[in-house]
């Protein structure tokens, strides 16, 4: 299903989606973030380059209570699970790199033992993407990691900006349902609209981006470069703040802890919070022994997880090229540079015929 939405009628579309809570990027204190929007907001526009945080928190919040615990009068522990039952929500303005990121979260939280909390949130979420006519950040590199500025993965609807209007394309049954709900605001798309969208797509693909060199060779080269001294050298400026992982659309690592409100009687909650492979505690044993004892080992874990380990398991990179970790790093560590340098060194050390 393809339709046209006049840019001025975005607010009317939101109003038509009465069965959903709608979130869209809003500029607050100079930062773009997903916020709930009320229907009929005439001023609603999708003017963001990309949001500071990816939309992953919608299905995987930074802090989440698994269950609460307390004691019955006879002193027995009593657990109350808090699996959420959220009402339907739809997130507007999701860039294709972040849509791609959602597919990786879906993979991780869906495989082996599915994660009841993630699944419960994800099941009522819909994502309306916004194609990138030009790279929203100078650090974008989606095209070399299997993505596209017009990519559709992970999204239910894709919107393509045609200056005064959007071409709106349903990609899933949920997307069809959204567009059906909004049909009073949408108009038929014609051949001219489709041709224009195609032109935008070709122009977007032709836009120069930063690039991971020879991406198909990267997993093998990182494997060969595991022992490289470059890891330690490139990680030297790292202050271990973890911002790279907190802003990443695919990082999923978390901690589980008990938060205690009262020790007697015992009362509190077991809580999941985002964690980071960049923190020394992440892998440190109680004895103090740490299998990843230094910054180099921790940078290697972050980069190799995305460009080697995940690839070995799933055949795709776990990096979507959004560039957030590069933009936000306070000391200028750049994942593209790191991958390229380690891979180049490993390639140079391989015998010429292999």
């Amino acid at each position: 299903m393809e339709r046209i939405l006049d840019k001025g009628r975005l607010g009317a579309l939101v109003a038509a989606l009465a069965d959903w809570t709608v979130l869209a990027p809003a500029l607050q204190d100079g930062l773009w973030a997903y916020r709930p929007v009320a229907g009929g907001e005439a001023s609603l526009t999708l003017g963001h380059p990309n949001t500071v945080q990816p939309p992953k928190g919608q299905s995987f919040p930074q802090r989440e209570v698994f269950f609460t615990f307390d004691e019955t009068p006879d002193g027995q522990p009593r657990l109350t699970p808090l699996v959420p039952r959220p009402a339907p929500r739809v997130v507007f303005g999701v860039r294709p790199c972040d849509g791609q990121g959602l597919t990786h979260l879906d993979q991780v939280f869906g495989e082996e033992a599915p994660d009841a909390y993630y699944q419960a949130r994800r099941g009522t979420l819909a994502y309306v993407g916004l194609a990138c006519n030009s790279p929203p950040s100078r650090h974008c590199f989606c095209t070399c990691v299997g993505g596209s500025p017009f990519g559709e993965a992970g999204l239910d609807v894709l919107m393509i900006d045609l200056s005064d209007r959007y071409l709106v394309r349903a990609l899933t049954p949920v997307g069809e349902a959204l567009m059906t709900a909004g049909q009073g605001v949408l108009t038929e798309a014609g051949a001219q609209d489709r041709a224009e969208a195609q032109q935008r797509r070709l122009a977007a693909l032709a836009h120069p981006q930063r690039a991971v060199a020879a991406p198909q060779a990267v997993p093998e080269r990182l494997k060969a470069g595991f022992g490289s001294a470059l890891w330690e050298r490139l990680a030297q400026p790292c202050i271990g703040c973890g911002i790279c992982t907190f802003l990443c659309p695919t990082c999923h690592c978390f901690d589980i802890n008990d938060e205690v409100a009262s020790q007697s009687p015992v009362c509190g909650s077991r809580v999941r919070t985002w964690d980071s492979c960049q923190f020394p505690d992440f892998t440190m044993h109680t004895s103090g022994h740490n299998p990843r004892p230094d910054l180099g080992a921790r940078l290697r874990q972050r980069v190799s997880h995305k460009f080697q380990y995940y690839f070995e398991n799933h055949g795709v990179f776990q990096c979507t090229g959004c560039g957030r970790c590069i933009t936000a790093c306070p000391v200028g560590i750049d994942i593209v540079t790191v991958v390229n340098q380690v891979a180049a060194e490993a390639a140079a050390m391989q015998p010429a015929d292999s």
């Binding site: 698994f66 269950f67 615990f69 027995q76 522990p77 657990l79 699970p81 699996v83 991780v108 939280f109 495989e111 082996e112 033992a113 599915p114 994660d115 009841a116 909390y117 595991f226 999923h252 690592c253 978390f254 901690d255 589980i256 802890n257 008990d258 205690v260 020790q263 015992v266 009362c267 509190g268 077991r270 999941r272 964690d275 492979c277 992440f282 892998t283 440190m284 044993h285 109680t286 004895s287 022994h289 299998p291 990843r292 080992a297 874990q301 190799s304 997880h305 080697q308 380990y309 995940y310 070995e312 398991n313």
Partner: protein
């Protein structure tokens, strides 16, 4: 609740046995699920035990899968959660979820000689295999158990080890000599070299402090054991147990799902981040 991997079941502590005293004390806890039989497990699998208000710890299931009705865990006092376990009294209710991880391929070892080499707290993870082997004694060849602690007081499962004699050769050791100790004095890998078990038709299973494992494997190689004949376990920090929290990996493998049991042939191919 159905399908919620993070929600523990409740189990009652029905017995507590003090194995090792002191700063690195070890106690063995016998737990019974309060609702039904709980879950069944295989040799080498682990469970997340919790004390509400303290947190969770991954602990090897030390009882044999052939035993029904309860599970045993030997817990060394280390930090927050394990210390809280050491304060518990019989009757306490704790949380348990699992089982997690792969298992020792015990069924592939029928007819083989089994050589167990444990040190410190490392007898617990291989204890279910030892129990299974002596229970199904006729399925296996010779059974040899090497085990050592720092001092005689640090030998866990002392009376159970004595009961093994007859079904198995048991070689105990302590790191430094002490009055009244009549068995080997020295480190476990040295005891192994002295007794020289044959690699012929044999499987070696080792578990213990990382430094011990390193020398055990070196010595097993010297005795002629091939990488495929050597099995060990990896204990990386774990939180979820189901391959999601991201901290226990060796390269592409999450140890909580692909491990903790590895043949040395497989383990040596992975990044040595343990």
């Amino acid at each position: 609740m159905e399908g919620n991997s993070y929600l523990p079941q409740l189990a009652r502590v029905v017995d507590i046995h003090e194995e090792v005293p002191g700063e690195r004390a070890i106690k063995t806890f016998r737990l019974e699920f309060i609702d039904g039989d709980g879950f069944s497990h295989k040799c080498g699998q682990c469970a997340m035990l919790s004390i509400f208000g303290r947190g969770e710890s991954m602990i090897s299931i030390a009882s044999s899968p052939l035993v029904h009705g309860y599970k045993q865990f030997s817990i060394m006092r280390a930090g927050r959660v394990t210390s809280a376990f050491h304060e518990l009294a019989v009757g306490a209710l704790v949380g348990i979820r699992g089982p997690f991880g792969n298992s020792f391929p015990v069924n592939d070892w029928h007819g083989k000689h089994l050589v167990f080499i444990g040190g410190g707290c490392g007898l617990a993870p291989i204890w279910p295999v030892i129990q299974t082997a002596v229970t199904k004694r006729e399925d296996f060849g010779d059974i040899t158990v090497f085990y050592g602690g720092r001092s005689p007081r640090d030998i866990m499962y002392r009376s159970e080890l004595e009961k093994l004699r007859g079904a198995a050769e048991v070689y105990l050791s302590v790191d430094s000599p002490e009055d009244g100790w009549e068995e080997f004095c020295g480190f476990v890998p040295a005891n192994l070299m002295e007794k020289e078990p044959s690699p012929e038709d044999a499987i070696a299973i080792t578990c213990g402090p990382p430094a011990m494992i390193k020398f055990v494997i070196k010595n097993l190689h010297a005795l002629g054991f091939q990488d495929e004949q050597i099995y060990t376990t990896v204990e990386n920090k774990m939180k979820c147990g189901i391959g999601k929290c991201g901290r226990c990996n060796l390269g592409k493998d999450y140890v909580c799902t692909k491990g903790p049991v590895y043949s040395w042939a497989d383990l040596k191919e992975l990044p040595q981040e343990y």
